[in-house]
């Protein structure tokens, strides 16, 4: 029979473990935003080499399953003499994978801006750097916010994979809990609820931002 006691008791350790889920996905998107911006700039640059590099970066990261990438990074680091805790490998992989999608989101947002706006700024004599800083970027950022929230939701879900390298986030914690209680049904249901709660909050935030932008 379904034990609501076990189900309810599972929440405490899982919500505790949610710290790591949020850490991996939150740091992942933060670092991913920076790398994504660089990749986005590279993909729009005049240099053929940079454009090629960005294309390969995006194509590799989007073509290879995240779990496989995680294992590659996890096993690669010691070989090239970098000794870091697993959490760093986890955040790093998440950020790198995210950067590929984020660079595409930003490229889309920049391309969606009416061409005339940048031209109008140039026409009144703004320097190219200022055109970017003051006209293009602020708009592109707000235009891309809903897509970025969506990306964050994807990362929260994807962060369940870092359980494989031993990070005690929600999924790993629920595995441990299921093992010790022998009640996988209740425990994994609780885990699903925690994820769902996080993602519904993020989705609501996304809708709010979208709504505010529309006005």
């Amino acid at each position: 029979m379904f034990s609501s006691k076990i189900f309810l008791e599972s929440f405490e350790p899982l919500m505790w473990a949610a710290r790591y889920t949020l850490l991996v996905s939150g740091l992942g998107i933060a670092v991913g935003l920076v790398i994504g911006a660089l990749i986005c700039m590279a993909s729009m640059s005049k240099s053929g080499f940079l454009r090629g590099f960005a294309a390969v970066w995006v194509s590799y990261l989007r073509g290879v399953p995240m779990l496989v990438q995680l294992l590659v990074v996890y096993y690669l680091l010691p070989v090239i003499g970098i000794d870091v805790p697993a959490i760093v490998a986890a955040v790093g992989t998440t950020a790198i994978v995210a950067s590929a999608y984020i660079s595409e989101i930003w490229r889309g947002a920049i391309n969606a801006l009416p061409k005339g706006q940048a031209e109008a700024a140039v026409a009144i004599g703004m320097a190219p750097g200022d055109v970017w800083r003051r006209v293009v970027l602020p708009q592109a950022v707000s235009l891309s916010l809903p897509a970025l929230i969506n990306e964050l939701i994807l990362l929260v879900k994807a962060s369940s994979l870092v359980s494989v390298v031993g990070i005690m986030e929600i999924t790993r914690a629920s595995q441990a809990q299921a093992g010790s209680t022998f009640r996988p049904l209740e425990v994994y249901l609780a885990a699903a609820c925690v994820y769902l709660a996080i993602n519904l909050c993020l989705a609501a935030l996304g809708r709010y931002l979208e709504h505010r932008m529309a006005v």
Binding site: L67, V68, S160, L185
Partner: protein
């Protein structure tokens, strides 16, 4: 780098690849079918049924595939659903993909001009015939790029099945690396392999799209 391990292990890897393709094709096929049913329910059914379906959609989209798999594979037996890893994996992929496919179909159906449906009603066509002859063929074509795109995303999700011991490509690769201690080489080669594989099926997908949409090309 030690790549000679592949000379010894390739039959096992090939079997793993076959399993990956099998899971992918069945998961995609069933997932699309379930997604289509969901989209049709959302379009034609009464409100309470639509709400129930919407709840299902939100739950599946809000939770990680891995947790869904654990629920099905480890939690399932407690409610009498006892599946081997392979069927569990395929059922899992089907369920996981269905709401995304449903969303693709739903917006494709919305994109079918109402006039084309009304033209069919006006000559007295029945609703099931309209679905079959107009809504599906016209909708499917506009859904095609998104369908291909999401099917490709699903290829990547198949590796997660290794965690519930479906003997697909990643599972076999892990086995090889634990037997040979060549973790890095094995995973690197696997990554490269996926990269190429996904690139190839994307190209095939695009060619397929062009063939199916030939009649939409405007006259010169």
């Amino acid at each position: 780098m030690e790549l000679s391990i592949f000379a010894h292990y390739w039959p096992m890897l090939l079997k793993g690849f076959g399993m990956t393709v099998l899971c992918w094709i069945l998961g995609t096929g069933f997932g699309m079918a379930l997604g289509l049913i969901i989209a049709l329910i959302q379009r034609y059914s009464i409100a309470p049924v639509r709400w129930l379906v919407q709840v299902y959609v939100e739950i599946i989209r809000g939770t990680p595939f891995l947790v869904q798999l654990f629920l099905l594979y480890y939690g399932g037996p407690m409610v009498g659903i006892r599946l081997d890893p392979l069927p569990a994996g395929i059922v899992g992929l089907t369920i996981y993909g269905s709401p995304y496919f449903a969303e693709i179909f739903r917006s494709a159906f919305r994109a079918v001009p109402t006039g084309q449906i009304e033209a069919a009603r006006a000559i007295g066509m029945s609703e099931p015939t309209i679905v079959q002859r107009i809504l599906l063929p016209v909708g499917l074509v506009s859904a095609l790029p998104a369908l291909v795109n999401f099917s490709i995303i699903l290829t990547k999700e198949t590796v997660i099945l290794s965690i519930i011991t479906v003997p697909e490509l990643l599972y076999q690769t892990q086995r090889m690396s634990t037997e040979t201690f060549r973790y890095l080489e094995a995973n690197l080669v696997l990554a490269l392999f996926f990269w190429v594989f996904v690139e190839i099926i994307s190209r095939i997908g695009r060619r397929f799209e062009r063939r199916i949409t030939h009649y939409l090309i405007e006259r010169p």
